[in-house]
């Protein structure tokens, strides 16, 4: 192993092969595409092509098997990645749907305020619903605005479409809204356009049906007419709700011969089961602009 001749032979062999490799490299880089080495390469590739084709076919099952194993790993990784993307997209979709819903409700509120006859100068404070009563009647809500924002007890609350209820409790940063579907609620109202007056009371258990009570039989009330707050005032008492806020649409009129008063069924304009945004009317309206147009 330590024989000088052997060492010299070994080193010479290494030097020869390294030198040959470098010579090959230099020649390959130095010649054009039609040079000897390039031609040799093309010839070798052509000569080996049939063998390579056969070997490739023979090794196909092995390649397929390894590919299947690799694909399984890739599929697991891809599945994990796609699950992450699905979660992210779901979150984005939920955000977008929430925003869309909020926009829809805000538009409804704005449209409501632009209606002719709607009381002006009420200084509305927009609020988001943060909690609902857990009963099936959805009779109370909690909103994220309170006395710090100018919200006080008994102020009217509107939602997209129409009247929602009134404030019945206030803290610094939150307030409780009792909806017009609550059993304790009573709103003085008028049927438009004939002006028949009555009191809107809930039909407990059905938030989509309100009753307009105490309408004299003589006053003709027809279906699909609109019911708005009457804003009743007298020398002693005054209605909490300003005149002209839409409440709902007449869906049915019961004409009982025995009863003294008609029972008018109203479907509220505001979807009281799915309110997310409301406005609290923090000021009494300007009476000059709160006149309900009577045809």
């Amino acid at each position: 192993m330590f024989d000088k001749k052997v060492i010299r032979r070994r080193r010479a062999a290494l030097a020869v092969f390294v030198g040959l490799s470098i010579a090959l490299l230099t020649a390959y880089f130095g010649e054009s595409g039609g040079g000897v080495l390039h031609a040799l390469q093309r010839g070798a590739q052509e000569a080996l092509a049939p063998i390579e084709t056969g070997a490739s076919r023979a090794l196909k099952p092995l390649r397929d098997f390894v590919g299947w194993v690799g694909d399984s790993f890739d599929a697991k990784r891809e599945n994990k990645k796609l699950r992450g993307e699905v979660e992210e997209l779901r979150s984005q979709l939920a955000e977008a749907q929430t925003a869309k819903r909020d926009v829809s409700q805000l538009r409804g509120i704005v449209r409501l305020r632009r209606q002719s006859g709607y009381p002006q100068g009420t200084q509305p404070v927009a609020a988001r619903v943060i909690a609902r009563s857990p009963t099936i009647w959805y009779s109370t809500l909690r909103i994220d605005k309170g006395s710090n924002d100018g919200v006080r007890v008994d102020q009217p609350v509107i939602a997209s479409g129409g009247l929602a209820g009134k404030i019945t409790g206030v803290t610094g940063g939150t307030a409780e809204v009792t909806l017009i579907t609550d059993a304790s609620s009573a709103v003085s109202a008028q049927v438009m356009p004939n002006g028949a007056a009555g009191v809107v009371r809930p039909e407990v258990g059905d938030p989509n049906d309100l009753l307009l009570d105490y309408i004299q039989k003589g006053r003709r009330v027809t279906e699909n007419t609109t019911v708005v707050t009457s804003g009743f005032t007298s020398s002693r008492v005054e209605s909490l709700f300003p005149r002209g806020i839409p409440i709902g649409r007449v869906t049915k009129v019961d004409l009982d011969e025995v009863d003294l008063y008609q029972r008018v069924h109203i479907e509220p304009f505001a979807d009281l089961r799915q309110i997310d945004l409301v406005q609290v009317l923090t000021r009494r309206p300007d009476t000059r602009s709160a006149e309900v147009p009577v045809p």
Binding site: R10, A13, L14, F17, L24, Q45, L48, E52, L59, R63
Partner: protein, 192 residues
């Protein structure tokens, strides 16, 4: 290694089979981003059993054939595989290891040396583009795969080259064993 016609033919066939299989099958076996390199394993296996001179000659021939068949830059694989063959052969000559699992780390070191040096040479010569860090992952994957394939490929190399080897590794291993116990003294005479 005794340089006979039979040895040359056997080595040539082994080399051709390795290059063909590498190009037509093993290069497509992508596992964790890398693929096993059969040519490096065969060069390392040959150098491991035949020595440094045969190793570097075999490495040069394997590289030249690989460059010819694959259409790469002529001389790059030859240069790197010559170094790999020489290195593995010298390791065997200097250390003269006997452990049966030694082909595994030898193959891993040879492959790692090959892919690293090949990358360095290619990068110096004609790669002008930005290189992704994933190349390192692929190199490590190839190294691991070659380590896994080392034992069968080295065994195959030994089987093919054994008739031409100057020193049979199994013979040498047998020589190293402790002399067998010949049994009780009273029976010694019976063995004769």
């Amino acid at each position: 290694m005794n340089l006979t016609v039979g040895a040359l033919v056997r080595s040539g066939l082994l080399l051709l089979a390795a290059v063909v299989l590498q190009l037509s099958g093993f290069a497509d076996l992508r596992i964790l981003g890398g693929s096993p390199d059969l040519v490096v394993l065969v060069v390392a296996g040959t150098a491991y059993y035949a020595g440094s001179v045969s190793g570097c000659a075999f490495g040069f021939a394997a590289g030249a054939l690989l460059d010819l068949a694959a259409g790469g830059t002529m001389g790059v694989s030859s240069l790197v595989l010559t170094a790999v063959g020489y290195g593995v052969g010298r390791f065997r000559e200097i250390r003269d290891p006997a452990h049966g699992l030694l082909p595994v780390p030898v193959a891993a070191a040879a492959t790692l040396g090959f892919v690293t040096t090949f990358a360095a040479v290619s990068f110096m010569l004609d790669i002008g583009a930005t290189v992704s860090p994933l190349v390192v992952r692929d190199m490590l994957a190839s190294t691991a795969l070659d380590a896994l394939l080392a034992l069968p490929v080295f065994a195959l190399c030994l089987r093919v080259l054994r008739p031409a080897l100057a020193v049979d590794p199994f013979e040498r291993r047998r020589r190293r064993r402790e002399p067998r116990d010949t049994g009780p003294l009273g029976l010694r005479g019976l063995e004769v």
